[in-house]
Symmetry: C2
Subunit: 285 residues, 2 copies
Amino acid sequence: MNVLEKIVNNVTNFSKSERKVADVILANPQVSIHSSIATLAKMANVSEPTVNRFCRRLDTKGFPDFKLHLAQSLANGTPYVNRHVEEDDGPEAYTAKIFESTMAALDTARQRVDINTINRAVDVLTQAKKISFFGLGASASVAHDAQNKFFRFNVPVVCFDDIVMQRMSAINSTEGDVVVCISHTGRTKNLCDIATIARENDATVIGITSYDSPLAKECTLVLSLDVPEDTDMYMPMASRVAQLVLIDILATGFTLRRGSKFRENLKKVKDSLRGSRFDRKDFNN
Amino acid sequence: MNVLEKIVNNVTNFSKSERKVADVILANPQVSIHSSIATLAKMANVSEPTVNRFCRRLDTKGFPDFKLHLAQSLANGTPYVNRHVEEDDGPEAYTAKIFESTMAALDTARQRVDINTINRAVDVLTQAKKISFFGLGASASVAHDAQNKFFRFNVPVVCFDDIVMQRMSAINSTEGDVVVCISHTGRTKNLCDIATIARENDATVIGITSYDSPLAKECTLVLSLDVPEDTDMYMPMASRVAQLVLIDILATGFTLRRGSKFRENLKKVKDSLRGSRFDRKDFNN
DNA sequence: GGTTAAGTGTTGTAAAATTACATATATTTT
DNA sequence: AAAATATATGTAATTTTACAACACTTAACC
């Protein structure tokens, strides 16, 4: 939790004078980080040691350390303390909030993701005879995206968003095949079935899902993100972005494993698009 | 540009002693921000004023101000100075780099996006008789995702990733229909055609694409992101994440316009999933 | 080889932060 | 309700820190 949030959360625990300090800082955080303890004390109409004590209460070593933490909280502009979108937010507010909460979600995802599992997943993927990506609902588009990345690698890739096709595909899988099941909650019954079926047919199942979910139990390898879905109650947002980044990471790991010759191949794939595009020269005329 | 990058870029302009300082800071940035000017000077084997001059060369007011800037650069952990994935990066390195570059891309997207256009786009979308999302290649999955969001709003939504279907759909569009064309480069000929056709049939065309691209010229409204695609040359990564966030923003704007009663509706959509899921109780047994 | 300029270090001082202590205010106990 | 205790806040002194001014060193150039 960053200092700014900490101040807001602790506002009730503060004493009268400390609260004055909190108010001043929250009102002009950008000014605060460039002020000395003396000027800040004056602004809040308290003594200097009070400011100092305030800093310590927030688990910082002292005023300079506090300013450091505050500066970090403000690193990306002045963030909304409350990132939840609210009824009366204007376009500016909700735009900023969604960007911020998505970035925050990616940040926690980065901290929580298990590098070791990623590495093993890349291992498995590079050795796969066939790779299948399955997702339902919002996760279906993530699966599509994954397909779009991995087909470039000249590996057989399939991607279905239709349960029946998924089932048939899963039943047909064999040893050496890799099935990637994508689900934020990990509670979608149909997808859990797919994982079970695939495993029964000796495929390796990678789950991009929540740790400790029913789906996770069915997987050989679980890449859990556990992003707090905090922007909107009714639509998956940040979770799905994190999933996509994870796909990017797996794809990158894949290309790195394959070495530099392989990258030539990617270039060819990209170049193949040329005919379908306006190139820059055409356009500048 | 953040201070850390600035140091790296200016490393040639530094004097011998200043370079020593730069090296020490780059080697242990986290330590640096918690050190006094004296200890840092000792670490670098230079005098205190040299450290001070070093700070000023980087356009900071002095050492404390420099530390503030440095702290902000390090706000999200110790970032890789070079975010480009390299041949010999291990899983840890490329994972961190991709997360970081994605977050950086979102940050620039946030700064560059035009709130006013977003607001107008939301306007148009809320009044649409029908909304169509079209994208090709990597942008197709973004279009799918958009469909997944907007269909919840009880508005007719279509989404095709097939050029022929797209064309037919575009030709059938009429006044009051909104067509959203998604393309990072904005140079995909087929998609430009779609935009043209839709406009000819009096539909409103929103482009999620690069400013100043051929596609942009064909659109009624252009939501440009202009994210530097810096992670990988051969695959779209950050750009597509930014597009998704933009979709989230439009969807959120949409729900806010519709007011609180409308949100009940969203809840119903979400609740409808319940039957297809393991609920938490089932699972805990 | 001397002159100039840029770079670097030493000393001293002003400012800033923190400690220790004193006073005021609230809280509990009798 | 008054005394006792604990908590909160401020004052003054101390210590730490950053910076300016000056002196010295090194490199560059004529």
